[in-house]
């Protein structure tokens, strides 16, 4: 696509980045409404004007799903938003979602040449704009569906990896059925990511789009318990299965007092709030510990910890404090979440690690004994290893402590599928390119293979799996193709 923008590049880069309108921090810290309000059409066009249409666009190099960003930005500049959205859907089945939750600063926007001297083009905000525009227009540019192949595919898990694979496979003419363990579709998009960052209505719309394309969904099925992988293939007749069950069991700190009332895993705290809508108690029945006028600490430095601490704030916490054992520079959370959290009055207590939870005689949490940390030599992750400072212990008063330090593999499928190879951490072993597992016809991707990562990486795995599964379903070659 040619560069239709008449402004010389020098002029374009002088245009300041258009800022995303946000709800007032004081107000939003007390409700669950979406923080980012979305760009107006005129603002989106202005932002698109800033793109200098590089001959070799750095923004496209690091996109896990290979979105044609340069072409899309040009279409936005031209005002053809629906065409931009349709182009986006060629590579990204869930643009309204990724526009909201991708870590753009380390992917597309991180590769934008404008970022070297100033601020990169707001690619994430533009993506969200065209996806929302399309959804609101009701003129969905759903891709064409190939004639039926007669093959059927089971997808285990309706999170980002599963949904993304479902979209690609149904387009190729395969019958696709997605199995979900919970009662609602979307996986981490509905149980993990809070309403104020990703409204559930958006997830529902994207799921409905897949349904319109012919994808079937079945909730309340725990594969590994309700049905095994072997039964899906031998009894229910699926020609191939994609295992995309996501991150599994929450990791606790294994320190004394972790069974006190008021100590949660971030998964539980977020699932109660998001999936079960406990923030609307008593309109919704699921309870959550009353955070109002209480001190809440959240342990961890990733997006999950950030979501938990901002949720606690919205549930009325008197103080909501993020406790992280490294320094802010090492925090894996998205830059925007850190900024939003600060604006909402979240306290950051870096280089701090809880070593014991303290409770009253009835078993309710009263505080966390913490130790200060300092950074030593780099560890396996390349980040400087935090080491405790001797004699620096102190008690941080808290009534609720939420642990968001990661997850380990859920064993339900592996334990009922003996011929499915796993690594020493019990994650499923899959070929990095074809996502084939050790079991014929079974592919795996997303967090159940890589361990906890991001929505977009899971979606990338979903696309990769769809391509490899299509190859397998059309050639029936497992061993041959496996050697490629």
């Amino acid at each position: 696509m040619s560069d239709a923008n008449p402004l010389p590049a020098k002029e374009r880069i002088r245009i300041p980045r258009v800022h995303m309108p946000e709800l007032n921090a004081e107000v939003r810290a007390h409700n669950f409404a979406e923080v980012n309000q979305g760009l107006a059409a005129s603002a989106a066009v202005t932002e698109a004007t800033r793109c200098i249409a590089c001959a070799r666009p750095g923004c496209q190099l690091d996109c896990p799903v290979g979105v044609k960003i340069k072409d899309i930005v040009a279409l936005i500049y031209a005002g053809d938003f629906l065409a931009a959205a349709a182009k986006m859907r060629e590579d990204n089945a869930l643009p309204a979602i990724t526009g909201r939750v991708c870590p753009q600063e380390s992917q597309c926007e991180g590769g934008c040449v404008l970022g070297k001297k100033g601020e990169p083009v707001a690619i994430g905000n533009l993506e969200r704009f065209i996806a929302d525009f399309e959804l609101q227009s009701g003129q969905l540019g759903l891709p064409a569906i190939a004639p039926p192949t007669g093959k059927s595919v089971a997808i285990v898990g309706s999170g980002p990896a599963g949904l993304s694979a479902a979209g690609d496979l149904v387009q190729k003419g395969h019958r696709v059925r997605v199995f979900e363990a919970l009662h609602e579709l979307g996986g981490v998009l509905v149980y993990g990511i809070p309403e104020f960052r990703l409204p559930k209505a958006i997830v529902k719309q994207e799921v409905d789009n897949l349904r319109r394309m012919g994808v079937e969904f079945e909730t309340n099925v725990v594969v590994g318990r309700s049905v095994t992988l072997d039964e899906l293939m031998r009894v229910e007749g699926y020609d191939a299965v994609f295992v995309a069950t996501g991150a599994g069991l929450p990791v606790f700190l294994n320190v004394p007092g972790e069974h006190l009332n008021g100590v949660y895993s971030a998964n539980e705290f977020l699932t109660r709030t998001n999936l079960m809508r406990a923030y609307k108690f008593p309109e919704f029945d699921e309870p959550i510990y009353d955070c109002r006028d209480r001190d809440v600490i959240v342990v961890g430095g990733g997006n999950t910890a950030m979501d938990a601490v901002r949720t606690a704030r919205r549930l009325g916490a008197k103080t909501a404090t993020l406790v992280y054992r490294r320094s802010e520079a090492e925090m894996p959370a998205r830059a925007e979440e850190v900024k939003h959290a600060r604006e909402e009055g979240i306290e950051f207590r870096m280089l701090t690690n809880p070593i014991e939870f303290l409770g009253d005689e009835k078993g309710w949490l009263t505080g966390a004994r913490c130790v200060r940390m300092e950074l030593g030599e780099p560890d396996a992750s390349g980040r400087r290893r935090p080491v405790p400072v001797a004699g620096s212990e102190y008690v941080l008063p808290s009534n609720v402590a939420i642990i968001g330090v990661g997850t380990t593999a859920n064993p339900l499928i592996q334990s009922t599928t003996p011929d499915l190879a796993t690594n020493k951490w019990n994650y499923i072993v899959a070929d990095p390119e074809s996502l084939r597992t050790s079991k014929r016809g079974v592919f795996a991707g997303g967090d159940i293979v890589t361990g906890g990562a991001t929505v977009i990486l899971a979606m990338g795995a979903g696309r990769k799996a769809a391509k490899a599964m299509h190859d397998y379903l059309t050639t029936e070659g497992w061993d041959e193709a496996h050697r490629d």
């Binding site: 019958r175 059925r177 979900e180 363990a181 919970l182 009662h183 579709l185 149980y191 012919g214 079937e216 969904f217 079945e218 909730t219 309340n220 099925v221 725990v222 318990r225 309700s226 049905v227 599994g248 069991l249 929450p250 606790f252 294994n254 972790e258 069974h259 009332n261 949660y264 895993s265 998964n267 539980e268 699932t271 109660r272 999936l275 079960m276 809508r277 108690f281 008593p282 309109e283 919704f284 029945d285 699921e286 309870p287 510990y289 009353d290 009835k362 078993g363 859920n410 064993p411 339900l412």
Partner: protein, 314 residues
């Protein structure tokens, strides 16, 4: 949606439901449970499966009225529906030939222990079933208890039926008589399970208890059901629900089960004031959902696609 094909009263505030759930019926093993959500705004609660009929595609659960969700559930009748039922969850009971096995069950725990008792009988164990209840109206499934054991003893706390006293009295009697027990399973209220463990564990008798901790997803994802075994943390939903009684920290279990007592009371009180409306609302919502499903099915059939939505169980 999951249709109730038979509802009946089993005892005072105890109801039995047979539900169409073909997937669960095919896979259920003794000791496993389901998690259900009755209605759209409802909470998820775990309930043990009493029996399953794979041919009929049904499972049977037993519900004692405790809080709001069980109160609503126990208002339902044959023909009503439950929005979500997922399972079978948890690890099945370990069934093998132990020798003499005692099943000690309190109140609604009797229903949960029945499938394990039957399986132990089938595995050539001599099964002694001790059922305890507060009073006569809460003695449930006596015929089934007798059919699932070689010896059955019924006790009530107030002596209004069977023998007078607690289940541990009978257990101690059996042991004092010099009889050897090779395996004990206790299912019921936490204080009862703890009392059983205190009798049998010091004697080195392998004793399992089925723990009823608070759960949300039931797949190991949230960790809310964690229990303390010695100094190790285990998840009741995926590592249990049955655990070695000699290791279980019952105090922590009771303390954690009390975590939402305030909210539970609030919900129950509100429900009691609006019982009829809540039930009518649930039925109307089910009817609407059924209509939508039928429309979706018709539309898909028109398009020549296989008519399967997520509500295929209806």
């Amino acid at each position: 949606m999951f249709r109730i094909v038979e509802a009946r009263t089993a005892g005072l505030n105890i109801r039995q439901y047979t539900i169409a759930a073909p997937r669960i019926a095919r896979k259920q093993r003794p000791g496993q449970f389901v998690i259900l959500r009755v209605k759209e705004n409802g909470e998820r609660i775990p309930l043990t499966i009493k029996s399953a009929d794979p041919a009929a595609g049904t499972i049977t659960i037993v519900v004692q009225t405790v809080g709001k969700t069980t109160s609503l559930l126990n208002c339902l009748e044959t023909g009503d529906a439950i929005l979500d039922v997922v399972g079978p969850l948890g690890r099945p009971s370990e069934i093998k030939k132990y020798g003499t096995a005692a099943i000690v069950a309190g109140s609604v725990g009797t229903a949960m222990a029945l499938p394990t008792a039957r399986a132990l009988m089938d595995a050539d164990n001599h099964v002694i079933f001790i059922e305890g209840a507060r009073s006569r109206e809460m003695v449930i499934f006596e015929d089934e208890v007798r059919a699932a054991s070689h010896e059955a003893y019924i006790l009530t706390d107030d002596g209004s039926y069977g023998e007078h006293g607690l289940v541990t009295k009978k257990l101690e009697e059996i042991l004092t008589a010099g009889r050897k027990l090779d395996f004990v399973l206790a299912v019921g209220p936490v204080p009862m399970m703890r009392a059983v463990a205190r009798v049998t564990a010091p004697l080195g008798i392998k004793t399992m208890v089925s723990l009823n901790s608070i759960m949300v997803d039931g797949t190991g994802m949230c960790g809310g059901c964690r229990v303390l075994l010695g100094n190790q943390s285990k998840f009741a939903c995926v590592d249990g629900p049955e655990f070695d009684a000699s290791l279980v920290n019952f105090d922590v279990l009771m303390q954690r089960n009390a975590m939402y007592r305030g909210q539970e009371c609030q919900s129950l009180k509100a429900f009691d004031q609006h019982r009829a409306e809540e039930l009518a609302q649930h039925r109307a919502a089910v009817a609407t959902k059924e209509k939508e499903t039928a429309q979706l099915r018709a539309k898909l059939e028109k398009q020549g696609l296989e008519a399967q939505g997520e509500t295929h169980h209806v």
